[in-house]
Amino acid sequence: MAAPADIWVYLSETPLFWLTMTLIAYGIGHWCFERSGASPIVNPVAIAAALLIALLLVTGTDYQTYFDGAQFVHFMLGPATVALALPLIRNLPRVRAALIPMLAALIAGSVTAVGSAVAVAYAIGVGPVTLLSLAPKSVTSPIAMGIAEAIGGLPSLTASMVVVTGIVGAVCVTPLLNGLGLRDWRARGFAVGIAAHGLGTARAFQVNQIAGVFAAIAMGLNGMVTALLVPLLTLLLPG
């Protein structure tokens, strides 16, 4: 029989191990979410990521090794994005009727997301690289990383901030908008799509399909608006 250390060396390097761990961690996160009575504060992605990060740190595994396995899950983001066409076409009349409110909310929300993040971080005092990496954090990672690179931020740091933003948005949106008394599913979905990209959209689909559709549209549009807005804003930054 092989020594446990040898078996571990084999397992920790195969895609199978980290792929399985990713699904198990998400399973645990989802179980916690359901046990909590679908509480928005219990976020399956946050739980799964925390478990996996702990496991990587304990076993001394680097992210690249982990990602070699987890990339199969990550890959499915592509076809899932294409699949958004179906809820979109089902709700097309609703979307067509809301073009003007969407445009207004898009501009207001996008400016708020970028402006307030940079203002708060600047007021407290962070390094310039962190500040520039922070600005595009409300949009989906590939776009956010491209913006960060173009303005002198650190793309991989931006990717982390994008993730934290998404989780914060997914956790906050339901209690926040209930507290404000905003019940229009279109507005709720659209707002979380602007502020918290794909993770916000995933949360919206969990709650209501109309909210999900509007979140998906907002996510796509905000990618474009933020790509125009952030480089303009960096011209205004002192220093």
Binding site: F67, V82, V168, L199
Partner: protein, 134 residues
């Protein structure tokens, strides 16, 4: 399910190829989604009696989107690469992320509702809202 998945992958492939070939700044899957939408719209024009979305396609899409969160787990674990910097600046970064996300959601939703109140009277607003709830 295989049929639907093949279709999604094929549209992504066309989208990625078109984005590269025409050097568009749009991500390939987004282009693929737009193309699928266009094809489904054209199908609706040609076959006005058919359901707007075939069942086999709709069911797979719903199944995938229900667990959309899972697909963000690998990218989220990427945080592990920045633990050092986040440790040093976590108060500022955390506060900036939380304040801006809450503010953007609130401002976005309020703006939407306020403008919709002005424009919805043209359409049958209540029907289009799809009901309230929490």
């Amino acid at each position: 399910m295989i049929k639907a998945l093949t279709l999604f992958l094929a549209f992504q492939l066309v989208g990625e190829t078109a984005a590269r070939a025409l050097q568009l700044p749009v991500p390939g899957p987004v282009l693929g989604m737009a193309l699928l939408l266009a094809v489904l719209l054209a199908r609706g024009r040609l076959k006005p009696d058919a359901a707007p979305v075939p069942d086999w396609l709709g069911e797979t899409a719903d199944g995938m989107l229900k667990h959309l969160s899972l697909l963000f787990v690998p990218a989220s674990v990427g945080l592990v690469q920045h633990i050092d910097r986040l440790e040093r600046e976590w108060v500022a970064i955390g506060l900036a992320l939380v304040v801006s996300t809450v503010a953007a959601i609130a401002v976005g939703a309020f703006t939407f509702v306020a403008v919709a109140r002005l424009t919805d009277h043209r359409a049958t607003g209540d029907e289009l809202k799809g009901g309230g709830g929490s």
